[in-house]
């Protein structure tokens, strides 16, 4: 171990061959995560990467950190156990739309509600890839797949809405191939204390190719997405002339310079607001009515479960007369037989 040398992102690669399909969006996400850890200068042994089941969940095998590839849907609870057991670790959960939102839905919302300090990277490709092409809980209504040959008849979850509904304090969104943006939001997620959800719009080249194409294609990405930054006006578009305003209780897209709209009228992003009302509206924006929000949408402070658990133990330890097992068993209703 080189103690003083700064680690490069290649140092976080394990000796295992990466076995995702060529062209899969996961390769870029893996790179982004390794770059994030390098930029944060996190020692490899301090990192634990926990995953469930699915294509995305193979990721821990490719990291030269501590890693645990667990069972379907349960990564957030295993990660919670790891973090509470050793709060000094930087704990990352790797999951997909099926793993986190279908079979693991209950654990997903409860991890967020408790606000355990774990960083969740949710690979959303709106399909079940490892089982070869069934619709997922984020597939659009009417989506045709092997298990919905006539189109689905259910609405999808919107991960941002679910996160905020479970009273989440951090939600960000990025696109698999936008490595620079991914690194920025992953760093923000790591710095945020509490459960951080990072939704990555991920492309499955085999079973759901181009599912995010209409917003991620570089020909129209600038006009169809908006990158939110705390403290900056919500401006977007190739020509940076479009923006978001609040019209009554609704968001509206406006063009700066038209209809008397000036830059001053544009909403300024406050990611740190405890009130999630605007964050929810931003997270729910969908093309074509709105640009899709990218970047850190919500990043507010709240008590953190693992920290509170440790503090409570410390507090009770100091107060209690019971310091050892022997103190415990000899306290209360005991008698002696001679």
């Amino acid at each position: 171990m080189a103690d003083n040398k700064k680690l490069a992102f290649l140092d976080y690669k394990s000796d295992q061959n990466v076995r995702w399909c060529p062209g899969c969006g996961n390769h870029a996400i893996l790179n982004a995560l390794q770059k994030t850890l390098a930029e944060l200068e996190l020692p490899k042994e301090k990192v634990a990467v926990i995953s469930g089941i699915g294509c995305s969940s193979r990721l821990p095998y490719y990291m030269d950190t501590y890693g645990f590839h667990t069972i379907h849907g349960r990564a957030s609870v295993i990660a919670s156990g790891v973090k509470v057991a050793n709060p000094r670790l930087s704990v990352w959960q790797i999951t997909g739309d099926g793993d986190a939102l279908a079979i693991g839905g209950n654990h997903f919302i409860h991890a967020i509600r408790r606000n355990v300090d774990i960083n969740v990277i949710l690979f959303n490709n709106q399909i079940y890839g490892l089982t070869k092409g069934q619709y997922s809980p984020t597939s659009k209504r009417g989506f045709i797949s092997k298990t919905s040959p006539y189109g689905t008849i259910e609405y999808p979850f919107r991960p941002g809405e679910l996160t905020i509904g479970a009273r989440g304090y951090f939600f960000a969104r990025t696109i698999d191939k936008e490595i620079k943006l991914s690194v920025e939001v992953m760093k923000a997620a790591a710095r945020h204390e509490g459960t951080s959800i990072v939704e990555v719009l991920q492309n499955c080249v085999i079973y759901n190719d181009n599912t995010h194409q209409e917003i991620t294609d570089k020909r129209f990405k600038d006009d169809r997405t908006i990158i939110l930054e705390h403290g900056k006006p919500m401006v977007f578009g190739k020509d940076r002339n479009m923006g978001l305003v609040l019209d009554g209780t609704k968001l509206r897209v406006v063009t700066i310079g038209e209809g008397g709209i000036t830059e001053k009228d544009i909403l300024v992003h406050d990611a740190h607001s405890e009130d999630p009302t605007i964050h929810l509206k931003l997270a729910d924006m969908e093309y074509p009515d709105f640009p899709v929000a990218l970047g850190v949408i919500r990043d507010a402070e709240a008590p953190v479960y693992d920290q509170c658990a440790a503090e409570q133990i410390e507090e009770i330890r100091n107060k209690s007369k019971i310091k050892t097992f022997h103190d415990l068993v000899t306290s209360g209703e005991v008698w002696e037989v001679k």
Binding site: M1, S14, Q16, P43, K44, E45, K46, A48, I50, I53, P60, Y61, M63, D64, T65, Y66, G67, F68, H69, T70, I71, R74, V77, I78, A79, S80, G81, V82, K83, V84, A85, N86, R88, L89, N106, H107, H110, A309, Q312, I313, I316, R317, K319, S320, I322, K323, T324, F325, H326, L328, V329, T330, G332, E333, V334, W335, E336, V337, K338
Partner: protein, 615 residues
């Protein structure tokens, strides 16, 4: 009228307190048990209550009972039938008739024997004594409600508080019946109600009034005397099985130097383990009340991966939900203890009753070849020992362990001698000692076959584990067919080798008998007492009681083979008998089974064994 009062010297006595589920019978029973134990008797207790918190008042379904068996010599069961029954209403009388010894003493609160309550209990007349033909019993008709009110007249309490203290009147009367001093109980009452002195005062006043009533009516009523038992010197306290399990883990954490982590979801009858450990933040216990059973075990697995002693507690339905995660722990080869406090099944079954029908689920209830350790506690207080040893085996052999308890052990109490510090061994976690460059994730201890434990946070030992099949040495994912076969076998061998580290099967009774009684888990007290009773009758028999089920003790075959008649007794339809048959096909096993949600009675066992001996 003035007959001289009789004092009966007895070896042992069974008292059953019974009333509505809101009548405070559990508290009354516990207070009486404590005073008997402090007096120096050996005791065993068993509460019996409905699944509903407040079942319909006055009905048989709503009867809550607490049985205490105490004696001059060692006592192993709460007793089959009662010498003394306290019945706070007609339903309590009716529900307990089949559990009375001939000529038993029955204390009834005559105030509650009105037409309405008699009808609710299913009596057709207004004279239950006549109707149920109770003439041969010694019945003490005490107007408990009226006299409770009378004794609290001057205290200006509300009616609810007054009525809630009538259980103390009954308790006072029973204290008189057994010539017991009130002072220890008074102290406990003061401690319990330390925040409300008036309630404490009221309870003590009613307790004394009940005692004095006994003094006044003593003409014609026998009073019992049971001298103290001859017990090993030491400091004692009463302990039930659930608390004993929680405490066993606390000692294991101390002896292993690991932090204790419990992930659990409330479920009857295991919840008290979760509650007890939640209160032990002073000893650094991390308790995670999970959103469901799966999250309970999964957080514990995560905690074990990170270097804590991860445990989870549950009952049968919860164990079913934990199956998949247990398989992960088998594959990942991490320490983990799962406590299953068995209750009546299948499905929701009989949540507050006892049964031993989760054995096969514990042994086999997972996908794939998924061997693990199964152990079973056999008395309320040895739940402590087995929790400790379950943790020791889990840690030192890097394996999940299922520890079986049951509703009977969980809620039953016995006096527990507080162990000296050196009575339990140290637990040595098999941390990696090799330099990181030379270490492989799945290399094994040559003797125990466990892999070594490298804790996240340790520089240089970064590694990945998971539920996919592992390479025999490196632990990397491997789909190689020869490797899979090898790994399946070595995981089984690792469990089998634990037989080298556990105590041999012990034989109680006669080595040269024809009959061997075989049991496992919570039935020990009843089987042992039945054995003693048939021996007292001059017949020969032996008992082999299993606490280690997977793997079995090494001498199991040799012991079983020695007897010509082997009868396996268990509270299910023969799960352990079937398991033994699969292991030892040349031995013939007879079975005695009961699945009523209740423990065995000594009488039924004795009766069955005698029949076998006559054959």
């Amino acid at each position: 009228m003035a007959k001289k009062s009789k004092v009966i010297e007895r070896e042992e006595v069974v008292v059953r307190f019974s009333g509505d589920s809101g009548d405070g019978m559990q508290l009354t029973g516990s207070l009486f048990s404590f005073s008997s134990a402090v007096y120096g008797n050996d005791i065993s207790t068993f509460p019996d209550f409905p699944a509903e918190i407040r079942a319909p008042q006055g009905t048989i379904g709503g009867v809550s009972g607490f049985q205490v068996h105490f004696g001059h010599s060692e006592v192993y069961t709460p007793g089959d039938k009662a010498d003394v029954l306290v019945a706070m209403n007609p339903a309590a009388l009716k529900a307990n008739l089949e559990w009375l010894k001939p000529g038993a003493t029955i204390v009834i609160d005559v105030d509650s024997f009105d037409d309405k309550n008699l009808a609710k209990a299913g009596y057709k007349s207004n004279d239950p004594i006549e109707e149920d033909n109770l003439g041969s019993y010694n019945i003490i008709k005490a107007p408990i409600t009226t006299l409770t009110k009378e004794s609290l007249k001057s205290m200006e309490l509300d009616n609810k508080t007054i009525l809630r203290s009538k259980n103390m009147y009954a308790l006072g009367l029973v204290f008189w019946l057994f010539n017991r001093p009130l002072k220890d109980t008074e102290k406990i009452i003061r401690d319990k109600f330390s925040k409300n002195e008036r309630v404490a005062e009221a309870n003590i006043r009613v307790l004394e009034a009940g005692y004095n009533y006994g003094v006044i009516i003593q003409a014609g009523t026998p009073s019992y005397h049971i001298s103290p038992a001859d017990v090993k010197p030491g400091v004692y306290r009463n302990l039930n099985g659930n608390r004993a399990i929680a405490w066993g883990f606390l000692l294991a954490a101390e002896k292993s130097g690991l932090e204790l982590f419990l992930g659990s979801y409330p479920i009857t009858p295991a919840t008290e383990i979760l509650q007890e450990l939640s209160a032990r933040k002073d000893l650094g216990v991390k308790v995670f009340q999970a959103e469901d059973e799966i999250a309970g075990i999964s957080t514990a697995i995560g905690a074990s991966f990170a270097g804590n002693l991860g445990i989870t507690s549950t009952s049968g339905p919860g164990l079913a939900l934990k199956s998949e995660a247990l398989g992960l722990a088998v594959m990942a080869e991490l320490p983990l203890v799962v406590v299953d406090v068995q209750r009546g099944g299948p499905s929701t079954g009989l949540p507050t009753k006892t049964e031993q029908a989760d054995l096969l689920q514990a042994l086999y209830g997972r996908n794939g070849e998924s061997p693990l350790v199964v152990m079973a506690a056999s008395s309320p207080v040895n739940c402590f020992d087995y929790a400790f040893y379950a943790a020791k085996v889990a840690i030192e052999h890097m394996t999940p362990v299922i520890l079986l308890s049951d509703g009977f052990l969980a809620n039953g109490t016995q006096p527990w001698r507080i162990p000296e510090n050196d009575e339990f061994p140290d637990i040595i976690p098999p941390f990696v000692e090799k330099p990181a460059q030379e270490w492989n994730v799945y290399e094994r201890d040559p003797e125990k076959l466990n892999r070594y434990w490298a804790l996240p946070g340790t520089p240089g030992y970064q590694h990945r584990i998971g539920g996919l099949e592992k390479d025999f040495l490196t632990g990397a994912v491997s789909y190689d067919h020869h490797n899979h076969d090898k790994m399946v076998r070595i995981r089984q061998q690792k469990i089998d080798r634990i037989a080298d580290f556990i105590p041999p099967l012990e034989i109680h009774g006669d080595e040269d008998a024809e009959l061997l009684i075989v049991g496992w888990g919570g039935t020990f007290g009843h089987l042992y007492t039945a054995l003693e009773e048939i021996q007292k009758d001059g017949k020969k028999a032996a008992l082999a009681h299993f606490s280690y089920i997977s793997p079995l003790p090494k001498n199991s075959y040799e012991v079983l083979k020695r007897y010509s008649k082997v009868v396996v007794c268990e509270l299910n339809l023969g799960q352990f008998a079937g398991y033994l048959r699969s292991k030892f096909p040349d031995i013939t096993f007879d079975q005695y089974n009961k699945v009523e949600g209740l423990p065995f009675t000594v009488a039924e066992l004795k009766n069955y064994f005698e029949k076998i001996l006559e054959k």
